[in-house]
Subunit: 566 residues, 2 copies
């Protein structure tokens, strides 16, 4: 029981020296790598850069206690930072004390929701974020985030959380561009793209062993940070108008509880729910993928609890909403992390930096961070997926397109809510007009197929009607219409057999319709039969009076009905 | 084309004298019978009594042009009046000019929505009001309406649109009861109940022919109205505190357009939508029932247009939202109406009364009208349905119970919205955890059933897994878990056959999951096969790369797969 809720108890007792070496190395690499992105994501959310560091310390330590993934690294991530910024800016002016306080409340709310969902085993809730909606959301968010970094790359002001707002605020300021900033920004951008595309191969060709070449290529952002910081310091570019991170308070974050107004908590409820769901989906799908590679398993419901505890920790320690991050997790995994201890070592590393070395980050240009975000975020934009989905299913494509367009034009919340709502509405619409088919016997077999698609045998006075959907309120009337039209257009009919092989549910509304159909066919001297009724459906029908009133029989198989009538 | 949108063209050219006699008689009877209820329902909505008369004139004439039911009688009805009152009282104080104006706006909005839904053939929209939700809503509304009449029956003040509000405002005023009012109210109530229960039989036993006995029993409210009006006039009970209808302006309603504020229109949008849907469902289900009795047909989409035009007419002619009313339609039907002309005659009759005889209604006691409403509305309360639904399905019962409780405690809008939302959520929840079964062959047949329910043959290294649900985003991950658990617990497996007889849809999310399952089983040297894939699903799968990647085959029937492996 205790082990279920505290997965650390399953691995810590077996911890040994060999694991320690691997985990320490991974922890060191992660520390160095994630500092720039932690700063960048805090800025993306409109928060002071140091919040990104705070959110990488205690939350990661807490995840070590509660998480089931061996390699997941938690902290600020791009999408969640974007959503956080959108949520906070709707309740408080950027930079105000309330804004900071709201970030903590958002973390606590989101953490609390995740823990509750985990305890109630409500992980299935995230299933309603369909694949096209998630993929559309990631693509649109990628574009939004890239647009949000444009200003920092050019050294001009822009604000807002939709594409239109961003561009409208950006364009008038374009003439105020800052040349040194553009040089640093575009230089870093080109360097990072080159390292990502060619770095590993080029370094390997230059004689480095493959794992080292890979590591150095991945460390591109670290080199860029060091180089541009030195350049900015040496030529005093901050005085030439290059925006820099500036002074970061040193020391560990204070533990506190963000009281705040009731109305503030209330206004953040929906954003917190969306952040929880998106964060959970992002984290769990990555965790599952990596676990599968090493034939390990993660427990989605315990992950909810783990991520929840992590966000609670962020809320109590001056952080911001966090989740399992794609890039930091991949770095951790590739660096050879064996257990969650690697994450704990990285957290301690970042704590050390926060205590003693924040001065070194003073001259780090914001443009460098913007370039780092832009390069890593563009991997989210998945254009081929759009074409693929269009080809496969128009209604999935519709959900995806609506998510993308509304995320770009109305913001992240509107995008994701409309996408989910539309997916559900389209599913309901499809099931409300079920496919049905008159079937006949495939000659010489006991198998029955659609009369219009296959060459099959039929009997004149018997209609074998297969309904390809569960019968429920949305299609109950449609079922009536289908049967009445069938009987009206085939006056020779004496038997109608409803084949229920695809009927997984008959709810009270559909039962009412079946009763009505049975009564109406009786008036026309047509008998109603059922076949292939599934066990659970049959159990339920027995609780009503329908089977007694049924004019015909219930056949175990369609073939049995066929033998009876032919 | 013209005939489709103006159904009057289908019957008016064939109109002849024999029909005229029947329709004139029905029109006369309906005129007399519906005047009291029209007044009563206007009062129920918080509107002046005369509005009920106005809403029975032009709207009924317009329905004659556009309606497809031969016998439907339109006008104010109890449920719609209740919903109207609730909507209006949330935007304006009862009795104010804005309140009257809002009633017209509500009619126009609701009429416009119905026409648009009709033109777009969106009649299916009403299917989402499931049977348990409608039935729960009618029961709760019946109780609410009865409670709302309690004050009038006792001669004390009460107000509000939830049960709690009604009772809270009623109880403190109880000591101010008015004895003559109570006598008139309870006397009428007992008389009406007696007439309804025993009238027809008693009068028939007393020697009257059955049809006449029936008509007289049905005319109970008319006798009550005449008798209590005379009593009140003769003993001048209005001066003793009996509330009476009072002076009603005579003359036909003025035609006008209720301009009003934009905010007023906007605030009434949702109520108008709900009133449209509920009115449409009530009207169409009754129309269909009566049409079926005479082997006629109505067209739901044209009915939307007809009811829409009717409500537009109500909005332009100082009326209130209307729909096909249960009691007035039954009266019309029983009185022998043959064509919609009967309705037109009734409308002309009521117009005549409105022009010349409203003075006769001066002394009509409100308590009599309250008793009329109470008796007719209590037929909506269907307690046995509660038990029946509980027995058949707990989730249908949950939707019903939520609708009842919220309608009573939070009002009609909250009730119906929560009921619909919960029905949809429960359906989605059920489909998100589909039933699945390992099946085996029923010996000697080509038929396959659940291994745990039937005595069937199986093959050791083959799993025949039947998934009893369409595969879509909500259950895609559940499908993965099911298959992975199956493979993990049966290490001897070499083939997994997914039987798709109940799979009516595979959306993009589920396709992604199938791809993942296929890849993961490949790693474990297990082949994935499909069987009994339906035509439309197969067509769609062919648009993706899944079939090329599939490690196994697609079998036409499960038996074909069985033969292959055993």
């Amino acid at each position: 029981m205790l082990k279920r809720y505290l997965p650390i108890l399953t691995w810590l007792p077996h911890y040994h020296k060999r694991l320690l070496g691997a985990d320490l190395l991974a922890g060191l690499i992660v520390t160095v790598m994630v500092i720039p992105q932690s700063l960048a994501y805090a800025l993306l959310a409109g928060l002071p850069a140091v919040v990104g560091l705070y959110a990488s310390i205690l939350p990661q330590l807490v995840y070590t206690l509660f998480g089931t993934s061996k390699t997941l690294a938690v902290g600020p991530v791009a999408i969640i930072a974007l959503m956080t910024g959108a949520a906070l800016s709707s309740v408080a002016p950027t930079g105000s004390d309330t804004y900071l306080q709201a970030a903590l409340i958002l973390s606590l709310l989101s953490g609390g929701m995740l823990v509750v969902m985990g305890l109630l085993k409500m992980g299935f809730f995230s299933n309603f974020l369909s694949h096209p909606v998630i993929s559309g959301f990631l693509t649109a968010s990628g574009i939004l985030i890239a647009a949000s970094q444009l200003g920092s790359l050019l050294g001009v002001e822009s604000s807002g959380f939709t594409l239109v707002e961003r561009l409208i605020t950006l364009v008038p300021n374009l003439p105020t561009f800052n040349l040194p900033t553009i040089l640093i920004g575009s230089g870093t951008l080109l360097f990072l793209i080159a390292m990502r595309r060619q770095g590993k191969v080029t370094l390997h060709k230059a004689g480095l062993p493959l794992p080292l070449a890979d590591l150095i290529a991945k460390a591109g952002p670290v080199f860029a940070v060091v180089a541009t910081t030195l350049i900015t310091w040496h030529w005093q570019l901050a005085e030439a108008g290059v925006a820099v991170v500036g002074s970061i308070p040193s020391g560990l974050p204070a533990l506190s509880f963000p009281w705040g107004d009731y109305s503030l908590w209330r206004a953040l409820l929906i954003p917190a729910l969306l952040i929880s769901l998106v964060g959970f989906v992002e984290s769990v799908s990555m965790g599952q993928m990596l676990a599968a590679k090493r034939r390990q398993r993660i427990s989605p419901n315990q992950e909810l609890i783990g991520l929840g505890a992590t966000n609670l920790a962020a809320g109590f320690s001056s952080g911001m909403p966090v989740t399992g991050g794609l890039s930091r997790t991949v770095i951790n995994y590739d660096a050879g992390a064996q257990t969650p201890a690697a994450g704990a070592f990285a957290a301690l590393g970042i704590a050390l930096v926060t205590m003693s070395f924040t001065g070194w980050l003073y001259y780090l240009p914001i443009a460098t961070l913007a370039a780092t975000i832009t390069v890593s975020i563009l991997t989210l934009v998945d254009i081929p997926m759009l074409r693929q989905t269009w080809r496969y299913s128009r209604s999935d494509f519709a959900a995806m397109a609506v998510t993308i367009v509304l995320t770009l034009c109305e913001g992240v919340e509107a995008g994701i809510i409309s996408g989910v709502t539309l997916s559900i509405a389209l599913f309901l619409y499809r099931t409300s007009r079920p496919h049905s088919a008159l079937v006949g016997r495939v000659p010489g077999t006991e198998h029955f197929r659609n009369t219009t698609r296959h060459d099959v045998e039929t009997v004149n006075n018997v209609a074998l009607l297969r309904i390809d959907e569960s019968l429920y309120f949305a299609n109950a009337r449609y079922l009536e219409d289908t049967v009445y039209n069938l009987v009206a257009s085939h006056p020779e009919l004496e038997h109608v057999v409803l084949i229920c092989s695809a009927v997984n549910l008959i709810d009270a509304s559909a039962l009412e319709s079946l009763d009505a159909i049975n009564a109406r066919l009786k008036d026309s001297d047509v008998k109603l039969h059922l076949s292939e009724v599934k066990g659970p459906v049959m159990d339920q029908l027995k609780k009503s009076d329908f089977l007694e009133a049924l004019t015909g029989r219930v056949f175990l198989s369609t073939y049995a009905a066929w033998r009876e009538f032919s």
